[in-house]
Point group: none
Chain length 187, copies 2
């Protein structure tokens, strides 16, 4: 069972209101900053509706939180995720598996990923929010990691950090390549 639930409108509604109150802004002020009608925001916080991508993006900018915060539910403080566990939230393909281990809480803003990759098509990523920094520790194998313009070849045990707000890539060179990735956003 992957995702039994529907669209996380309820979760987003809660996150919107929580983040807005955290920075102490009124509904009208956030709507103004986001460039949307406050009636729209009012409805969203009430859990009614089906916001468009632009609306959500504008709100994440106005609230000054990563977009993922609005869609990734918070996680418990203590938990165990087995290597063989069904994916709580993972991105899979034939030669690349990225499992989200720990989503960033509101205050700290960082995600931890376990990556398992096979040689094949490189995993390219578009720029993230400005201020994002990513850290990779290769557990096994060999990979080409870093900005698309200047990637670095790393082997088991190596560590590499790079800005997340430029296009970047993760390409396994050897079979059975694994890594731990920490993506953090500095406010």
């Amino acid at each position: 069972m992957t995702e039994p639930s529907g669209p996380p409108i309820a979760a987003i509604a809660a996150a919107l209101q929580q983040e807005r109150r955290r920075i102490g802004l009124s509904l009208a002020e956030v709507a103004r900053r986001a460039g949307i009608a406050k009636s729209t925001l009012s409805g969203l916080e009430a859990g009614t509706g089906n916001p468009s991508l632009e609306t959500l993006w504008a709100l994440s900018s106005a609230l000054e939180v990563p977009f993922s915060l609005l869609v990734d539910p918070p996680r418990p403080v203590v938990q165990v995720i087995r290597a063989g566990d069904g994916p709580a939230l993972s991105s899979e393909s034939a030669d690349y598996v990225a499992t989200l281990l720990s989503a960033s809480p509101a205050a700290t803003r960082r995600d931890i990923y376990a990556i398992s990759a096979q040689p094949g098509e490189p995993r390219r990523s578009d720029p993230h929010l400005p201020g994002t920094v990513e850290h990779v520790v290769l557990s096994a194998g060999r990979a080409l990691v870093g900005p698309t313009s200047d990637p670095v070849e790393v082997t088991a045990g190596d560590y590499v950090a790079y800005p997340g707000d430029v296009p970047h890539v993760f390409e396994a060179i050897e079979p059975g390549t694994a890594a731990v990735l920490v993506s953090e956003h500095r406010a």
Copy 2:
């Protein structure tokens, strides 16, 4: 040309097509699985439009990728620490080596460690600052990790998180045990 934080419609368009072709499905088939019109999907992959939350969610399910992947693309390099490099700062003992990879900036408060351990005396840690949380991803071997009162046995690939403000332990069970540890303080 690079917008500071424009809606990632273009990125989503690329991600949609990339993921769809990765699993080798036709546009019509994905649309059918997602329960949306193929014309809608066609437009989205072309980069035109502004999809609603429900539409995106349905597509992430149909493509069997996490929702966050479509809206929050993964990661990119600035600093490289090779496995054989002499660590600038490390804590060593006969059967335990912890290398500091990335010290926590003032704002974010988190440290990333690479741990190499051998079976022997458990590595016990006294409580850190209140609000500290530690995350461990085991790269290789087998270890007993977590609160001293209730440790968890983990193997390669496993993830475990536990409060850092209580006594905790890291004990290698197999030779050649390695791990990545992220220690963070929540304000």
